[in-house]
């Protein structure tokens, strides 16, 4: 945890004594105009800033100030507060990265105590445990629960179509679990109601060679997939109620979406319209953008390459 603050501090601290740094930077900046390369200049600028931030502000580049009658002195009664603010913010920011998750939990608790409804402007307070609305397509798909249909097909004995009313008349699964996004945001203790995916698969009758389930969305773009073993977990549901709203609101992927509790949020495909049983899981929308196919929370999407850090998906 501490390495966060250390890293950011050393990034701004040039090695060597003040005089060495001064000499080194002087020669670098003096060669500036002959270079004319933006990248090189940005690096030189960063070096200059590092010096401005780490020395008492008295290390001025007097030799390049020849255009003006610079005296080369700073008023004696001043303090380099500016750089202290910049450095201080960097350190507080690093500490916030390390411990902000804990802080966010507390802020969320306070905000939900003050504002139990969860709506209004209080929902915009950072840490107020609000969802972020993602949509792959340019516009958000809109479908009433009356017009909604869920098609189940592929390697099944009986291809089925479920209406919204048929789904809510099936045995319900209630889950109160966090919604965790792979990028970091989290909404704790969301209440979900839906039908276990395994129940739907059983009704359709999965044929023996099938080892994967692919999902489609009526937004026309969003796709997802699970292995058969993953799909049969009891905490994987076809959800029709979320946050106390039935049907699920359009923003959150309603009227019906998938909820895959043990995995990062992107696996919980929104605006679910088709379930296709197959021999092979097809990487979905987010996986094509570099996310892991097997998206276990805390056990995936780590390392510098996010793909292929888990078992091959065909293997289940």
């Amino acid at each position: 945890m501490e390495s966060a603050s250390c890293e950011s501090a050393t990034a701004l601290t040039p090695t060597g004594g003040a005089d060495q740094t001064r000499a080194a930077s002087s020669s670098q900046v003096a060669s500036g105009p002959r270079r004319g390369r933006t990248g090189g200049e940005a690096v030189e600028g960063a070096l200059y800033f590092a010096r401005l931030l780490t020395h008492n502000g008295r290390v001025a580049l007097h030799h390049v100030d020849s255009v003006g009658p610079s005296t080369g002195t700073t008023p004696p009664s001043t303090t380099p507060i500016g750089r202290r603010i910049v450095l201080g913010m960097g350190l507080v920011g690093a500490a916030g990265i390390a411990f902000g998750g804990i802080l966010q939990r507390e802020v969320g608790r306070v905000v939900s105590a003050i504002n139990p409804g969860g709506g209004g402007l209080a929902a915009l307070i950072p840490g107020a445990n609000q969802f972020r609305i993602y949509n792959a397509a340019g516009t958000q798909p809109d479908l009433s629960s009356a017009a909604y249909r869920l098609n189940v097909g592929g390697l099944v004995d009986n291809p089925l179509t479920f209406s919204f009313d048929e789904l809510i008349s099936m045995p319900a699964t209630h889950l109160s679990k966090d919604f965790q996004c792979v990028t970091g945001w989290r909404v704790p203790g969301v209440h979900w109601v839906g039908v276990a995916l395994s129940e739907i698969l059983d009704r359709a009758g999965v044929q023996p060679p099938a080892s994967a389930v692919n999902f489609g969305s009526f937004d026309g773009l969003y796709t997802e997939s699970l292995t058969m073993d993953q799909a049969r977990r009891p905490d994987v549901i076809v959800a029709y109620e979320m946050l106390g709203t039935r049907p699920i609101s359009q923003d959150h992927g309603g009227p019906v979406r998938l909820y895959v509790a043990p995995m990062y949020g992107y696996k919980s495909i929104k605006w679910l319209s088709s379930i296709t049983v197959a021999t092979r899981a097809v990487p979905g929308y987010w996986e094509q953008n570099g996310y892991d196919v097997n998206a276990w929370i805390g056990r995936s999407n780590s390392g510098f390459r996010n793909t292929g850090s888990d078992k091959p998906i065909d293997g289940g």
Binding site: A4, P33, A42, V67, G100, Q104, Y134
Partner: protein, 228 residues
């Protein structure tokens, strides 16, 4: 137009101007402003749920937001590195970095103390510049963790998201205040577009700087107003 050494600054209503920002500084300012406004404009539909639904196109917004944000430090870094053109900017940055007791007093009284004689930059302007500098640093750190989350533990991603959101809120308030003050004192806006500021403004808001400019011919100053 600028005040020549030995020239008497305007004592009447006649327009006299001081040179406040050179071309490099103005280009750096407006490039930074454009990038910052891009970040804020794209952040709103990324963060506010009802706007997300209305605007959509999240992938495009993320792309614009991330790369505008990563480019934010570049104008000032390139500006200070340009040896000759950046001299004025470096000189001003040194002044902004160093705070006097008067600058702290300015902040404590929000400029209402009539006995203060701020130099080229008052305490509020120095605080604004330092805050934005620090904010760009922290937003780049946290934003990088959010976008390229792979190498970081999940708790850091959550922490980075929290810091990014919280600081974004403060940035919006500070930038709104900055723009508000520019509109309230149009002379400062003109200084950032033309480079020149009228002496009447300087007499009221930067008397220390004006006195420095008046003595520039004889004494010299850290920030020669007659450059360019």
């Amino acid at each position: 137009m600028s005040l020549l050494p030995g020239e008497t600054p305007a004592r009447t209503e006649s327009p006299a101007f001081l040179h406040r920002f050179d071309r490099t500084e103005r280009v750096v300012h407006w490039a930074t402003a454009a990038l910052m406004l891009t970040c804020i404009a794209t952040a709103l539909p990324l963060y506010i749920p009802s706007l997300s639904s209305l605007v959509g196109r999240r992938a495009l917004l993320v792309y614009l937001h991330v790369y505008a944000g990563l480019c934010l430090p570049l104008p000032v870094l390139v500006g200070v590195a340009r040896s000759r053109w950046g001299a004025h900017l470096r000189s001003d940055l040194r002044q902004i970095n160093r705070w006097s007791a008067g600058d702290r007093r300015w902040l404590a009284t929000w400029g209402r103390d009539p006995f203060l004689t701020p130099g080229k930059f008052n305490g509020g302007q120095k605080a604004n510049a330092a805050f934005i500098g620090g904010a760009i640093l922290v937003m780049a750190m946290t934003g990088t963790i959010m976008k390229w989350f792979g190498p970081w533990p999940l708790s850091w991603r959550t922490g980075a998201t929290f810091v990014h959101d919280l600081l974004a809120l403060v940035i919006v308030v500070v930038v709104t205040g900055h723009v508000g003050y520019a509109l309230r004192w149009p002379s400062t806006l003109r200084a950032m577009t033309t480079g020149l500021v009228d002496v009447r403004w300087a007499r009221r808001h930067a008397p220390g700087w004006l006195a420095e400019a008046e003595n520039a011919g004889t004494r010299g100053s850290d920030s020669p107003p007659s450059v360019n």
